[in-house]
Symmetry: C2
Subunit: 438 residues, 2 copies
C-alpha cells in the first residue's frame, strides 16, 4: 500500500478543516486514490488550542521550515497566509522539489510570476484551487474542462463579506455600516475588513483568473478596484425599481489585444443568474466560444468548503506523484512559453451603461443644465427619473445611460458637481447588461 | 513537436462541433497542452452533407472500424450514439489499447459495467464528461475536485427538453402538448420525445452520477422514473401559489446502506437555486460533507457546449498519454476494488412531502372522507386549499402533507380514488424542501 506524506503549514481555521478531512475521510480518500494520504506533520506556532481533532503524538510542531525540509514529506500545504513567511516557505518547498498546495491569493496575485517561474524551473507542481471561489472548481475548469474554449469573459461574485453586506442591505434597507458591524459580530467579516469591502480581495482573485483564462502573466496592479463602502440603501432600492441588483463583481473581458479587468459595484438585471446569489455565497459565470455561458456557485469561503478545495488539490498532486506525471497540467493553464504580457485596458477606456444619481436643488432648469453637460460629452441618456425623498433641500435625480465611455463620464460628472445647483458628489454605478444594445 | 492523433466516429451535430473545436481552436489547444491534437480521421456514413468545416482530403471516411484499427490513432471519440454499433466500436478501441471519449449516456447507463471492466483490464482510459450535463464539469468535479468529500446528495435538472417545456408552461400556462409541439418545431425536442419527456434520459445520467458519487456499480434499472407528460398548467400554477416551481429532478441521496435514486416531477421552493434554472439550461446541486452545497449551471445539450466537454476529455486523455499516466484517475471515481453493489431504495420506502390534488364533487362531507383516509394511512396534512375553477362539476382540493411514506401515499390515493365523490385519478407531486422539518 503506497503512502503519500503530507505536511501542513498553518493550522488556523482552514488549516484545521484540511486536517479534519485528511484524518476523518482517510478511508474514503484511499478508496478513490488507491494510496494513503498521511498527514505527517502540522506546523503552527500555537500548540495549545483545542482544534477538535485527535492529533498523533509529535504530529503538531512549531517549526514550519522543519516540515518543508523533511525528506519524507511529499506534498506541502501552505495555509499560513500573508506575503512574507508564506512566500519563503513556498519557495523553500519548491527548491526542495516538493509540490505545493496553497490558498494564498494575495501572495499569488502579487508575487505569483516569481513563484510560478521557480516551480517550473524546479519541475514542481503548484496547485491553488482554494485561492479563488472556495469549493467551486473554477481553476480546474479553466485549466482542464474548458481547455478547448477561447474564454470570452468572466464575471464573479468572489467576496463573501461584500455579498453578505449587499444582500442584507437589499433585504431590509440597512446601511453599509450597520450590516458591517453585524457581519463582524457573526464572523462573516474580519475585524479589519478593508481588503474585503474595498474590493482588494476580489481583485487578487481576478488577477489569478485572468492569467489562467488568457495565458497572461499575473497582473494585479493594473486591475481597477472600487469597493462597496459608498453604496447606499437608497441606490440599492432604486436599482431594484429599475430591475437591477447591485453586486460587487470582478469582471474580465477579452477584447483581442487587451483585456478588461475590473472590480466594482455593478448593477445586473434580475435575469442574470448572479443576481440571485445571496449572502456569503460566491458564483462565477464564464463565457466561452464553445460552452456559451456557464456558472459555478457555492461557498467561496469558510473552514470546510475551502478545505475541500485544498484537499482536492492535494489529491491531484498525489495522483501526479503516483503516476509520475508532474507538470501534466501547467499551473497557469498555458505552457510557460505561451504566457504573454497582455495589457489591461485603463478604466477610462471602457464603455458600459451607467446609473447616475445627482443631488440637485429643486429649481427650474437644473435638469437642462445636467443633461446639457452630458450631451456635451457625448453621453446619451436612456431615461431620467426623479425618485425618492427630498433630503436637505435636494432631490435625487436618477439617470440611466446608453453605452458611454468612462473617461467622458468622469469628466462630465466632475463638471456637473461644479454646478452650484448640485449639492453632493454625483453617484455612479456601472451596469452590466447582456442584451448587447447600446 | 509532439502530435496526438484523434479519430472521430460519427459526425452528426455534436461530432461536427467536436471537429470544429479541434480544427478551429488547434493553436489555442496547442498553447495549453504543449502538443498538437490532430484530427486524423472522421468516420460517418454521410460523406456529402456540408458541415461548414474544411476537411483535409481523405479525412472523412465511411468505415468507423478502420479508424478504430488505425495504429496511428491515439484517441477515439465515439459520437455515434445508441447501444449497438457504438458499443462494438468502443470495445474494439479498448481492445486495441486506445483510450475512448464518449457522450453516450444510454450506453454507459445500460452496459457501463461491462465497458468499464474491459477498459480497466486493457489499461485504457474512458472519459465521458459530455454524457451528463453538457458543458458542466460535473463528472470531473465528482472524480477530482470533490474527491475529499462524502457526497450526501445530488439533485439535477438534467434534461433540457423537459426543462424547456416546464419553464414555458410556467411562463404562460401552455399545456404540455402545445409546448412540446412548439419545442419540436424549434429543435428543442426530438421527433420522438419519449426518452426525454418520460424521464429516461435523465435517469441514464443519474445512473452514471450515482456510481461516481458513491462508488457503486452502475445501476440504471432500479432507478424510479416518472416523466412530465401528466403535469398540467393547473398544477404548475397552484405550485406557484404555494411558493414552488415544478422541475423534472434527478435526485440521489446517500442513506448509509442504501441510496435513493429517482427521477420525477418535483416541487421545489423559489429559494432553491434550481428553481431559477429555466429553458434548455441544466444545473446540478451537489451536497458534500465538506463543501456544503455547490451548484453547476450551464447548457446541458447542444452542439458546441457538448462538444466543449468532449474536447475537454480529449485534452485530459492527451495529457495522460503525454505524461505516461493512463489510469491516473479511475474512470468511475473509485478504485475498481472499492466499487460495490449498493442497493437502491424502492420508491415505496422513500419519505418526502407531497402535494395532492383531488377532483371532488362539491358535496358536504367530501373533505372529511378524504382526510379520514389519509389519517388512516398515517399521512399528516399540513394545509388544505380549495383552489381553482370548478370543471365538469368537480372542484380541485389541494393538500400539502408533512413527511409521509410513499407506500402509504399510494395506498391512500388508491382508496380515495375509489370514493364515489372523487371523479379523476388524484394528482401526486413530490416536494423537496430543504428546511428539514417534518
Amino acid at each position: 500500500m503506497r503512502t503519500i506524506n503530507v505536511g501542513l503549514l498553518g493550522c488556523g481555521t482552514v488549516g484545521t478543516g484540511v486536517a479534519k478531512i485528511l484524518i476523518e475521510n482517510k478511508d474514503l480518500i484511499f478508496s478513490r486514490v488507491g494510496a494513503v494520504l498521511n498527514l505527517k506533520h502540522i506546523a503552527d506556532i500555537d500548540l495549545k488550542t483545542d482544534r477538535g481533532i485527535q492529533f498523533n503524538d509529535g504530529m503538531l510542531i512549531q517549526d514550519a521550515f522543519k516540515v518543508v525540509d523533511d525528506p519524507d514529506i511529499d506534498i506541502i500545504i501552505e495555509m499560513i497566509g500573508g506575503e512574507t513567511i508564506a512566500k519563503d516557505l513556498i519557495l523553500k518547498a519548491i527548491h526542495n522539489g516538493k509540490p505545493v498546495v496553497t490558498a494564498n491569493k494575495a501572495l499569488l496575485a502579487v508575487h505569483g510570476n516569481v513563484i510560478f517561474k521557480s516551480a517550473i524551473e524546479h519541475g514542481v507542481d503548484l496547485a491553488f484551487e482554494a485561492s479563488v471561489g472556495g469549493c467551486m472548481p473554477i481553476i480546474k475548469s479553466l485549466r482542464e474542462s474548458l481547455a478547448g474554449n477561447h474564454i470570452k469573459s468572466m464575471a464573479g461574485i468572489l467576496n463573501g463579506t461584500c455579498n453578505y453586506i449587499l444582500s442584507r442591505s437589499s433585504e431590509d434597507g440597512s446601511s453599509f455600516e450597520d450590516v458591517l458591524t453585524e457581519a463582524q459580530k457573526n464572523g462573516f467579516a474580519e475585524a479589519d475588513p478593508t481588503l474585503d469591502v474595498e474590493g482588494v480581495d476580489a481583485a487578487h482573485k481576478l488577477a489569478i483568473l485572468t492569467s489562467l483564462a488568457y495565458g497572461m502573466e499575473i497582473n494585479f496592479h493594473d486591475i481597477y478596484i472600487e469597493g462597496i463602502s459608498k453604496i447606499t440603501p437608497m441606490d440599492i432600492e432604486l436599482a431594484g425599481q429599475f430591475g437591477y441588483r447591485i453586486k460587487l463583481l470582478a469582471i474580465t473581458k477579452d477584447s483581442g489585444n487587451a483585456i478588461e479587468a475590473r472590480v466594482h459595484p455593478t448593477m445586473i438585471p434580475f435575469a442574470n443568474p448572479l443576481s440571485g446569489v445571496n449572502g456569503v455565497l460566491n458564483a462565477v459565470t464564464i463565457s466561452g466560444d464553445a460552452i456559451g455561458d456557464m456558472m459555478l456557485y457555492g461557498f467561496g469561503a469558510g473552514m470546510m468548503p475551502t478545505a475541500s478545495a485544498v484537499v482536492g488539490d492535494v489529491i491531484d498532486l498525489a495522483r501526479n506523484i503516483l503516476s509520475g506525471s508532474t507538470g501534466r497540467v501547467p499551473s497557469l493553464s498555458y505552457q510557460m512559453d505561451h504566457i504573454r504580457k497582455i495589457p489591461v485596458f485603463p478604466i477610462e477606456d471602457i464603455r458600459v451603461h451607467y446609473y447616475f444619481r445627482f443631488s440637485a436643488l429643486d429649481r427650474p432648469g437644473v435638469l437642462s443644465k445636467i443633461s446639457g453637460i452630458l450631451g456635451d460629452y457625448d453621453i446619451s441618456i436612456k431615461s431620467v427619473h426623479q425618485k425618492g425623498r427630498k433630503t436637505k433641500g435636494a432631490v435625487p435625480i436618477v439617470m440611466l445611460t446608453h453605452l458611454a465611455r468612462e473617461a467622458d463620464v468622469q469628466d462630465a460628472l466632475s463638471d456637473i458637481y461644479n454646478l452650484d445647483v448640485v449639492s453632493d458628489p454625483p453617484v455612479l454605478i456601472r451596469i452590466e447588461d447582456e442584451d448587447g444594445e447600446d
